[in-house]
Amino acid sequence: MSQVALTARRAGRRFLSSLPALLGVLVFTFLLMRVLPGDPAVFFASGPTAGKEEIETIRKQMGLDKPMPEQLGRYLVDVAQGNLGRSLTTGQPVSADLKERLPASLELTFAALFIALLSAVPLGIAAALRPGSVVDHGVRLLCALGVCVPTFVSGLLLIYVFYYLLGYAPDPTGRVDIFTSLPPRATGFLLIDFALAGDFEGWRAAASQLVLPAFTMALFVVAPLARITRAAMLSSLGSDFVRTARSIGLSRWRIIVVYALRNAILPVLTITGIVFSTMLGANVLVEKVFSWPGVASYALDALLASDYAPVQGFVLLMAFIFVLVNLVIDILYGIADPRISVE
């Protein structure tokens, strides 16, 4: 179908047009990291007898002895070849680390987004159906409550209550109970891998491990999602075409779902994209609190250690995902809204 071709072409064009932004991110991060006053070589040469020589060794290893423009040039060439450098914190190539850890972050983010959407959209709709009512105010208060606690506090509290006091939740130490044997890695997403392996015991272990951190993260994004859903629903419920739908005698549910909601989904989709990217980058604290072996906490440690390569790699990855998510949202938008593909 030409619709598909059109969408593909638009997506391709958008992707190409975002490449300069990626390059910008790359260079900017590189420079930002060099501005950091910490010298990674000194930090990692922390052995009890570390001397000048050891520091120099590490510096040479990292290529820090070269002039800055040359370092940048080398870095760009390396990145173009898919080499993101080596992390001093883990001693592994950054790309390997990221590959290992990204599924963890993604799984968490998806789960959180899922929980958030599942609660935000119905809440938003409920509020929009009766604007100004008790329900509306209740939803508003509920959402505002969610965003007003820093994630690290809500995370620690949840752990305290559900793990320490009640013992309902498994120990908050990563993606799966340490005594559960891992499934063969197919996708890196434990829920999927366990399911593929047919290990439902394991699946449950992984899922229960996921609940608290995902919930902590979701709490924070329910508000913007619900807010947008409400606004979009209000505006589509008040629109002319909904009036038309009423005038031809469609049932109330059909009007709400097929006419109002389908149209209201569009702005929600846009926000979901933004929320997803910000969550992925901003769940540093949640990952820290829950010992989640994701990319954000990885970058945080590296940042505090002035370990350049992982931070640069992480930022590049995030930017790339950002572009990708935008692309996906764009395509979805194109599918959901036929008006887009013209213009």
Partner: protein, 282 residues
């Protein structure tokens, strides 16, 4: 503000008790920020190790911290700094973002695309990590926390202002202003900017809360305001370390203050949206 706007605001507030409460609480908060330091019972940074980690009592309403400092006094005194951080960060990003965004939205074309690219670069950054990196690079002084928070907010303001101006730029009154002899720049600054202000007020209000949380997050990983200055974020971050030992007051009270403050801003933002929503006006 015209009287009609005030009247309209009063009307919305009456139908919207949450916003009214939030507005009242925000006012209270501002008062605390202004006069708190002269009202508190104790010196917020004077230690008293003999009375460290005492639970709330009549002498110390919110208990004492690790150094025996009065938590309540610290909370009250912190209000000023926290509000100042939030306000200045938001004002900074708003001022920059609104001007840049309006100009782009009005001018369109190449400039718009170029700035759009720049905004894309910023947006593509994992923002919290960017803030961390900036604070780490510039040093964790209050100014730098403000700057970092402002910069990570900037793209949203630019986009918002751009979109708002874009829908207005072909309005009759914009062309009329041109016909009356205004230059493009003056149209942007004197006509469009004031007109998008109300819409941006909502964004500002929501962002105020977010800025405070952001500062708290930075504190949590050790990049916050310098000790021993009282600041809610730091107090929560430090208190969080005591959750497991049952010293609940150390995290509960600052957390509550933070929560209340952010809650107020959020509810206020929601309310503002209603006040400013033209559809609510008849």
């Amino acid at each position: 503000m015209s009287t009609a706007t005030l009247r309209h605001a009063a009307f919305v507030l009456r139908g919207n008790p949450l916003t009214a409460i939030a507005a009242f609480a925000t006012g209270l908060l501002v008062l605390v920020a202004l006069f708190g330091p002269v009202l508190v019972p104790y010196d917020p940074i004077a230690s008293d190790v003999a009375h460290a980690l005492e639970a709330p009592s009549a002498a110390h309403w919110a208990g004492t911290d690790q150094l025996g400092r009065d938590v309540f006094s610290r909370l009250v005194v912190a209000a000023r700094l926290d509000l100042a951080i939030a306000a200045s960060a938001v004002v900074l990003s708003f001022a920059l973002g609104a001007v840049i965004g309006s100009i782009c939205g009005y001018a369109g074309g190449r400039l718009d695309r170029a700035v759009g690219r720049f905004v894309d670069v910023l947006m593509a950054f994992p923002l919290f990590v960017l803030a961390m990196a900036m604070v780490a690079a510039l040093g964790n002084r209050v100014e730098n926390i403000v700057i970092a928070t402002a910069i990570i907010n900037l793209p949203f303001y630019i986009r918002f202002a751009r979109a708002e101006v874009n829908v207005r730029r072909s309005a009759g009154w914009v062309e009329a202003a041109r016909a009356c002899g205004d230059s493009h720049l003056s149209v942007v600054l004197r006509f469009l900017l004031p007109n998008i202000l109300p819409a941006m007020a909502v964004q500002i209000s929501l962002n105020l809360g977010w800025a405070i949380l952001n500062a708290a997050g930075l504190s949590f990983i050790g990049l916050g305001v310098k000790p021993p200055t009282p600041e809610w974020g730091i107090m929560v971050a430090e208190g969080a370390r005591f959750i497991s030992t049952g010293k609940w007051w150390l995290v509960a009270f600052p957390g509550l203050a933070l929560m209340l403050c952010v809650l107020c801003f959020n509810l206020l933002g929601d309310g503002l949206r209603d006040i400013l929503d033209p559809r609510m006006r008849t």
